[in-house]
Symmetry: C2
Subunit: 409 residues, 2 copies
């Protein structure tokens, strides 16, 4: 059994819906059972949200969920009737009908449980179930949506509940590449990637699949295949252990533009100060990214963090009064920055990778503004104009364009 | 408690939705409880059906229902959030959430029962329930739609289930007039009309409200107020007994263009022949309207009936072989006809109305092709070009432009 998820671009119009249906038909003729999960067509969701904005200054989330859920419940019956037209008996199911039970956090509900009785019933009757992604219902039959990446989450959770062999995520890219091909032309497709690696890649800007869906996949051991809906070549398989032939300690380079940094200077080194600085930002819904604080000297330290450039001036206004309150020396800020990251499982266990990264950047004349690392990622903040040369230099230095030397022929 | 139903034109865009919400607010401030029932915005339903046609040659009705039900579930949350924006707490409910249980005849389901638990619950909590019209669910949670006039039906049935004081149907006309004002400029608004009168008017072309909704209204004694959503003047109240002041035996003149007649000549007068002629038409979904058969002479008779002009040639092709089979003399046909009808309760009990109708037409030089009558209607089939002069002549002859003489000041 295969769960196939088709995103908004793949079902954007009638011609594309027909192509999706031909692919489902081919998979079935190849001997598989298929459960399809579909997103809203093209920009439907955006258009519904825009409509809401025209009748309400601040639409209640419960009503917004009722509204945007229609995006997916439009696609699902269209796909089901198109499959029938191609000779494949099919049945569309809303998220609630497919048994997707969620929490009551409207607009960002979490899946609590999937009771796929009707999905299994449909399969038994020889029908292809076409499930509306992104949506579910609470125990009280209130309609909810799952927030960003919701349809991916539906697909992976459904694959887990059904014990499907694989969950195929159809998208408009070939899979996960070693870098953004618009930045690094020699970027290469990765045939396998570990759950945690894709989580780091997604977090630093290589957005192909939503982290929530990957987390569920990891938790329940669902094999996820990210592939293109425009051709039949295999894409990237997300698995728990990357096979030997793909083992290159550095798996990819990720770049993210539009970064700004704020530095709170001369922060008194006592408990609670960092919390005092970040709480107003989180209260305003501003997501703080890389945070760096050095060891303090003489009881004072500098605290630097990055935010999305669009939120820089709002952040500054929130942080300045707090800085004064806690007795800091002031706040400095700089925009037009970018993040460049190397990602790979067990990378930090390998000596010399960080050093080689810094050396490569230095040799390209690129200054590093900030450094931040995790178990499987090294991130450097550089000037915006250095981001792309940096990515290209790193991609070449770590030979990411080449299939690892240990790979069989 | 008032149930207010707003049709597709009344909620066609954000500006109109805001106006609808202001009206709901005014009704509530005047001391009423309001339950709103809404249709799909403007041409949404047509656009969804068109989309279906692009992916499927013959969309299964179950999937078509899943698809078009989105029209109303888009409007309901928009109206609810707009009400909230105007300071009125509100909650949208899908048909199934509002407790509309239907038969499983997809695309033309009948309401079996309404269990308005959630509607009452919302009212108790001080919320305005905004119910998506036109849709319901079977006992198995399959989504159904109610077919033509479905939102009117939802509103009237809900008013019956809630024991509402009145069901207001907001539309783009002022109410029920004595004639089509485009044909008869002196047409006058009727303040009251009987259920059965509006049923006859609707059947002969004065389409304001769907007959199904009127039937439910009559069955459960729901007072229905058909009125304009563009101004605040009262429209027409549909009631079981028209008050004295409105008692004019002839209530209105209805015209319908685009009529064709077929005559099967020399039909042998034996049981089963009429059935043999009409069964293939009904099988092809062709609605036959006026049927006239005269007494037979010498064991043969002529059978004449009317169909919509657009279906005339298809009808002819279906009837000709049957006519030959049953040994009829042949089939003749004529198009470019129209129906002109007088409607009014107890009209036939009043001597001379039919005679005066025929005399009026004769004096206008209008030839009558066919005559058909019911308890409360007299219909003449005339040539298309005579329809409008006929309507004007009859409207004047029966003094429909004048408030009946018995009316109080």
């Amino acid at each position: 059994m295969i769960v196939q998820k088709y995103g908004g671009t793949s079902v954007a119009n009638a011609v594309r819906i027909k192509r999706v249906c031909r692919r489902i038909a081919e998979t079935i003729r190849a001997g598989h059972q298929v459960v399809a999960v579909v997103s809203a067509m093209g920009h439907t969701t955006d258009r519904l949200i825009e409509l809401a904005g025209r009748v309400s200054g601040d639409p209640p989330l419960r009503e917004l969920d009722m509204l945007v859920a229609n995006g997916e419940t439009i696609t699902a019956p269209l796909v089901a009737m198109c499959l029938q037209d191609q000779g494949l008996p099919a049945i569309s199911l809303t998220g609630p009908q497919a048994g997707v039970r969620t929490s009551d956090h409207h607009s960002k509900a979490r899946i609590k449980e999937i009771r796929p009785t009707r999905v299994l019933e449909a399969l038994e009757r020889g029908l292809v179930p076409v499930v509306a992604g992104f949506q579910g219902a609470t125990e009280d039959f209130e309609i909810t949506t799952l927030g960003r990446g919701g349809s991916d989450t539906t697909a992976v959770a459904l694959a887990a509940a059904l014990g499907a062999e694989v969950c195929e995520i159809y998208t408009d890219v070939d899979g996960i590449l070693t870098a953004d091909p618009r930045v690094v032309p020699s970027a290469r497709l990765l045939h396998h990637i570990a759950y945690e690696e894709i989580l780091e890649l997604a977090a630093v800007g290589a957005r192909v699949m939503h982290p929530r869906a990957v987390e569920i996949g990891e938790l329940y051991g669902v094999r996820i295949h990210v592939r293109s809906s425009f051709h039949k070549r295999p894409g990237t398989m997300i698995v728990s252990a990357v096979p030997m032939e793909d083992r290159n300690r550095v798996r990819g380079v990720a770049t993210e533009l539009g970064v700004a940094k704020l530095t709170v200077l001369g922060v008194p080194d006592r408990p609670g100060v960092a919390a005092a600085i970040f709480e107003p930002l989180s209260g305003a819904g501003i997501s703080v990214d890389v945070i760096v604080q050095n060891v303090s000297t003489h009881g004072h330290t500098d605290l630097t963090f990055t935010v999305n450039e669009a939120e820089a001036s709002k952040s500054l206004k929130l942080v300045e009064p707090v800085a004064e309150e806690v007795g800091a020396g002031g706040v400095s800020h700089a925009g037009s920055l970018a993040k460049v990251s190397l990602v790979g499982t067990g990378m930090l266990g390998t000596p010399g990778i960080a050093a080689r990264m810094f050396r490569t950047l230095a040799e390209s004349g690129i200054n590093i503004e900030m450094i931040s690392t995790s178990e499987i990622r090294i991130t450097c903040i550089v000037k915006r104009e250095h981001a792309e040369p940096a990515a290209r230099a790193l991609h070449a230095a770590f030979q990411l364009d080449q299939v690892p030397a240990t790979a069989p022929a």
